[in-house]
Subunit: 181 residues, 2 copies
Amino acid sequence: RPVREVLFFPSRPCCIEALLAEAAEPGAPGRPCPCPLPSADTSLSRLVRRLLSARRSLDLCIFSFSCPQLARAVQLLHRRGVRVRLVTDAQYMGLHGSQIGRLRHAGIQVRHDQHSGYMHHKFAIVDQRMLITGSLNWTTQAIQSNRENVLIVEDATYVKPFLDEFERIWEEYNPSSYSFF
Amino acid sequence: RPVREVLFFPSRPCCIEALLAEAAEPGAPGRPCPCPLPSADTSLSRLVRRLLSARRSLDLCIFSFSCPQLARAVQLLHRRGVRVRLVTDAQYMGLHGSQIGRLRHAGIQVRHDQHSGYMHHKFAIVDQRMLITGSLNWTTQAIQSNRENVLIVEDATYVKPFLDEFERIWEEYNPSSYSFF
């Protein structure tokens, strides 16, 4: 049955170490995390679970990406062989706390705009099948403090246009077509 | 058949005078607008059409609202007897160009948060039936210059949680429960 889910934020703080450990090494005995946060079912943990369900590809268009937990989830998928492509905004990728440098360093392909307008999307497409989109930037401030929404959709009527939009942007932001004057 | 639509921005600039005139006085002979913009079918005109389809209610949660064209559409619905309720962000409602003062002046009920976190939603619910949500703030910059998305959904699986979220926020931001210390 196709996934149809809505997540609202702020999310209660929670520990996602068990989720990451299980995704890194399925079935391995979990080591208890020493942090004081509960491993609760929250909007954040649900979002992370959906991302970690990727088997083949993860296409990301994220305006502002500074949440270390989500960066770890993305890195883990990349290490597991999932094809990760990330589009972001040129002005926000350089801000303090941005995770873009870390993700590039890990070998993940990142492209960004060259415009004065913002690349303001905040969506992810898992395995070309599941769309995760809404108002939520991938920042700890947004997750813990803002009123935000995320829709999770497995209906091709919505997923297909986003796949096309991703490919359009990915090509448009190809560094080989940058202009420097 | 339920509406299922995706709009991407930036939108080509267009004139929405004909849409507003038709909504204000259905069937009246249209006066040609002297502006040089085309009355084209664009993401902006589609968004305006969906909003103007409201007959009974329009519930709005808009982080940043500075687009005069969208403000005119909302005002028109209010004048036509549609029950408009608007929730916005306390820090952004006072910025230069904000349309919130104008809408309040027109008699539209507005509520805002009292928090340091942002009320970052950007959604509208038409007649408790159609959800319009995405990354798009209602600003001219976002409409004309940013990469943005808007989903239009008539599926209760998505609409109902947003209706509940709206009512939660509307009550939480009731001025009678403000604290001043």
